[in-house]
């Protein structure tokens, strides 16, 4: 049973003096501001762990208390009910909150993204072998070819009258949901009518696949590789294949807390910026993996986490390894910058799949979820280079899997350009 009680041993208190801890300011004041951070145990929380364990928070006079939780609903609710001050959140969650979506739409925003990558789509080995047989895959194919092969299987199953495949993601307002759908639809599979989309909490995904309750899932690390190494799953796509620039997790902040603690928020962002830079340096990966393997965080072997950092992924139980460039990125390429254009891409997918209707008012709400202005104010003049604009055309340098770029200036046109989408409001009413 995980719960608040489970946060045994405040991680900050275990922070020892480690050699490569950046030198601390002389005459710094004692750690005094407690910041409670809710998190779900996933590799993409690395920046938070490093901030707490490696002295970055302490240097800013912050005591970070990392509190493990089991569901994104809890993360949202505990932030709303002030049991957390800030939280490790899925990048679409602040957008959903501003749009009043979900059963407890409490407004929050993000001034800082915790990094990119880590997600992957894994299909059951049986399903993948069926795809191989039908489409003649030899295992070296890319994500789009895999999706097209899946399309053939979906068609054959339909003709044969077999029940639709069941695919899981972790939350309705998650990068996993939108990425899984994006990947399926890029190959002509309608996620609403051709397959069944469901939610399975990350730690249960592997079990759900083992018991054949689901045929595939999209979840963050380490669960994909664990499924492969257990011999039950085949990784067929990663986040980097679908949209490499996509923000994955963000720091969710409640409006009230930010209003009451502007100084602490700004120090926290400075600490996270330094921690993120540290996390990206390969020479720190061994230490980071050791920290994260602790039961208080991931509780999985350090070696597995290191391999994930390296981007060398075992994708097939037969031992095939794929090297994914930038599989996890914590700092470089402005990975922490909360691009308005990325909030709006998320919004475009919410519109695309009928979670919200497009309107100018909703567009404005979605924009309010990401606060590049705060990021810029806090980190201007620091060693971190801050983008000069808040918004850009997405998918130019790092293309989306479907090859279309996203211009935040015309969302209706972008959404209408998708051959597969849910008609407006279709998901809301019967």
């Amino acid at each position: 049973m995980w719960g608040i009680e489970d946060v045994s041993g405040d991680p900050a208190s275990r922070t020892g003096s480690v050699d490569d801890t950046p030198s601390t300011r002389s005459g710094r004041r004692a750690p005094e501001r407690l910041v409670r951070v809710g998190f779900i145990p996933l590799v993409d929380m690395a920046v938070l762990v490093a901030a707490a364990e490696q002295g970055f928070a302490e240097r800013e006079g912050i005591r970070l208390q990392l509190m493990k939780d089991v569901s994104w609903s809890n993360i949202r609710d505990r932030l709303a009910f002030r049991q957390f001050d800030v939280a490790h959140m899925l990048s679409p969650m602040p957008v959903a909150s501003q749009l009043h979506l979900g059963s407890n739409p409490y407004s929050c925003f993000t001034p800082f993204a915790l990094g990119r990558g880590g997600n992957a789509i894994t299909l059951s080995l049986d399903l993948y072998r069926e795809m191989q047989a039908l489409a003649g895959l030899d295992g070296s194919e890319g994500a789009l070819a895999n999706a097209l092969a899946l399309k053939q299987v979906v068609e054959r199953r339909r003709v044969a009258g077999r029940k639709p495949l069941v695919f899981a993601m972790t939350y309705p307002f998650s990068s996993h949901n939108y990425e899984f759908r994006f990947w399926l639809a890029a190959a002509g599979i309608n996620p609403d009518t051709d397959v069944t989309m469901t939610v399975v909490p990350p730690p249960l995904t592997v079990d759900a696949m083992t018991t054949r309750a689901i045929d595939g899932f999209c979840v963050n690390a380490p669960w994909n590789m664990i499924a492969v190494e257990k011999g039950i799953g085949r990784m067929v796509a990663t986040k980097a294949d679908i949209w490499p620039s996509a923000p994955e997790k963000v720091l969710g902040v409640s409006l009230e807390w930010a209003d009451e603690n502007p100084e602490t928020l700004s120090r926290l962002v400075v600490a996270l910026d330094a921690a993120a830079r540290w996390c990206d340096a390969p020479e720190n990966h061994a230490a980071l993996a050791d920290m994260m393997s602790d039961q208080a965080y991931l509780g999985v072997p350090s070696d597995l986490i290191r391999r994930l950092f390296s981007g060398r992924l075992t994708v097939d139980p037969d031992g095939r390894v794929r090297h994914v460039e930038n599989y996890l990125r914590f700092y470089g390429q402005a990975a922490n910058f909360p691009w308005i254009s990325q909030a709006l891409w998320i919004y475009s997918q919410m519109v695309r799949w009928g979670q919200v209707a497009h309107s100018e008012a909703n567009l404005a709400q979605a924009k309010a979820a990401y606060r590049p202005d705060l990021y810029r104010d806090i980190l201007a003049g620091s060693g971190t280079s801050v983008p000069l604009v808040d918004s850009r055309v997405e998918g130019l340098e790092e293309p989306f899997i479907d090859g279309r770029s996203f211009s935040p200036d015309d969302i209706p046109a972008y959404v209408e350009g998708f051959p597969i989408r849910t008609a407006a409001n279709a998901a809301v009413d019967e």
Binding site: Y171, V199, P201
Partner: protein, 228 residues
Amino acid sequence: MDAVLGLKLASSGQVPDHCAARAFTNLTKDSQFGQRPLRVAIIEENSIRAAILVDGLREAGILDVEVIEAMTHMLRRLSIIDPDVIIIGIENPSRDVLEQMFQVSRLVSRPVAMFVDRSDGSMIEAAVEAGVSAYVVDGLRKERVKAIVDMAVSRFNAFERLQRELVEARSELASRKIVERAKGILMRTRQLSEEEAYALLRQTAMNEKRKLVDIAQSVVTAASLLEK
């Protein structure tokens, strides 16, 4: 805002059972005035906690209660049960599954909202403290829901107490077993009588200002190391 509401929840989260029961008397009366009886679904894997909750609801006159134990088929079960209120432990990861379900409301007949009313901070606080979360059909009268949440909070707390006592009893038993084993080891290796072995453990504990069971554990650990 809610002048009618006769039951103010203690902010401590400790709601005596009889309070909740009284609330339900009102509630049953409500339903006699034309509102249909409430149907409650409990999502709970722990059968003891589920039973404690069902029992509490029954006592309060809510008989239409269904327990869903497993995540598999949760969606189908819920759409068949079609509850007015869903109670689920906050530490249950299936809350995210529910969230999805409410999004795709084609499958559940009516929209459902988390926690009745934001204005009642103390109730929410008590619920979250106790580990209760509840989803409620939109438009359901606030006091009816409040009574159910109050009851769930008190039952969750009661279950917590029970668990704690159980853990304490278990650890008591385990301590006794360790002391017995340590005594046995000392009797065997140092040819002591049972009383002498016990006195030695006790004396050592006093000298080292540690608990008897800790000393006993050290003896057992040391002996197991030496065995090889």
